[in-house]
Point group: C2
Chain length 250, copies 2
């Protein structure tokens, strides 16, 4: 026990660029919304192609990152996982909650390619659940013989989270998504996938219908509602970055 | 980019107790020597049963830990993986090397049980590759639907590391292992598994035969040699803790 360090410094080696602009609209676990691309750009002294030499031999990577959006909130020993309706408490170490003793996150992502130009080193990834702006502190190759345990028991999180709520798009939203398709070809599928996981915060689920929500994806604000028929995407608007920042600062 | 933290503090939440007393004799990846037990004991304010409530619903855990034995050595952009004979350089982020920008390790372990008594909280684990004394900074449940990717391509580390070197035990060593069996029933299997992965440091492999080595497991020093016939375990002795400490301080 003698020589355990009291604390150590770690520093970001990279920064995530992602369509997920709010924690609220991030798929609860990676891989479910599998086509969405993101980028990890290496920072400062780590923006050196040597660090990622032959990384493309691997199809999947581990990303260890900081829960920067919630780190300042601290941690708590017991967590109410949204998957359990927000009513049952589990030990924080028995969850993937962001409110951990050390605010470290862990996600597997698919590596599509490594781009190097103009002194920048960028890993283009897919199948991730990383918030835009996330600081990355480590990247490791995924080794299936050591890391893949399909027979593991998953406890209360055993099944993929899905709902059977019907999802529909208002014609105005449909038209706007069609107009944006050349720029964001996956946006419609992404919205469907996120809504099918029911991203509503647990404490809002008991409010009277219709319930109205918005979520930021790329530079767009997606408006949707829940009524007796299911979920409807009502509008796809340009995102007001100031409002997003103000909401984040709350 | 604006609000990326320059560095953050993380602190150990637990400490590993393990038969692996030297980096040299640790299986290169977890899971290969699957029966060997270890313990993660939660430390200080984290020694609170609430943190691990219902953790036993999961069969496997992620452990994020500090490479404490090598952290002071710093990092290097390019690594010569021992698996490739120590001659080919790979980017550090394309390896699981300990000499990383942030000295964070990642291992999956099997959770056998959680023990709580006399104010201590201990996770009994198996199938791990953790050095005795390792500081643990996070524990997360393994979620097979998100974490298991048996189809991932593993690059140069695609296959389990094995050698076809024959392994034999000298009668003296055999007798001592038999005598120790009530206390360390898995020690003989552990030695076989470690030697079958050829734990020799790459730079020593070209030395003339016979080559002689020792490795610390539990409180024992295992002496073995490599000659034209293969590997032979020649002696199983009580470990001299002072010598081990001196070697670690070199």
């Amino acid at each position: 026990m003698s020589d355990l360090p009291a604390s150590i410094h770690i520093q970001p080696i990279g920064r995530v660029y992602s369509p997920y602009r709010q924690k609220f609209a991030i798929p609860r676990q990676p891989g479910l919304v599998s086509q969405v691309e993101g980028v990890i750009e290496l920072l400062g002294e780590f923006a050196n192609g040597d660090l990622v030499r032959d990384l493309e031999e691997f199809s999947h990577l581990w990303v260890i990152f900081l829960f920067h959006a919630t780190a300042a909130d601290g941690w708590t020993p017991l967590i109410r996982p949204p998957r359990l309706g927000g009513k049952i408490k589990k030990g924080v170490l028995a969850t993937r909650s962001t409110h951990r003793p050390n605010p470290l996150g862990l996600s597997v992502v698919r590596l599509l390619r490594v781009e190097q130009q103009a002194g920048k080193v960028r890993l283009v990834i897919a199948g991730h659940d990383l918030l835009d702006g996330t600081p990355v502190v480590d990247i490791k190759p995924y080794l299936p013989y050591a890391d893949a345990h399909a027979d593991a028991r998953g406890g209360f999180a055993d099944d993929r989270p899905t709902t059977d709520i019907a999802i529909r798009f208002h014609p105005d939203a449909e038209r706007e998504l069609l107009r944006l398709a050349p720029r964001y070809p996956l946006l419609r599928a992404l919205i469907s996938d996120i809504l099918s996981q029911d991203p509503r915060p647990a404490y809002k689920k008991s409010r009277p219908l219709p319930q109205r929500y918005g979520m930021a994806l790329y530079d767009r604000n997606i408006r949707w509602l829940l009524d007796e028929l299911g979920m409807e995407v009502t509008a796809v608007e340009r995102l007001n970055e100031q409002l997003l920042q103000a909401a984040a600062d709350d």
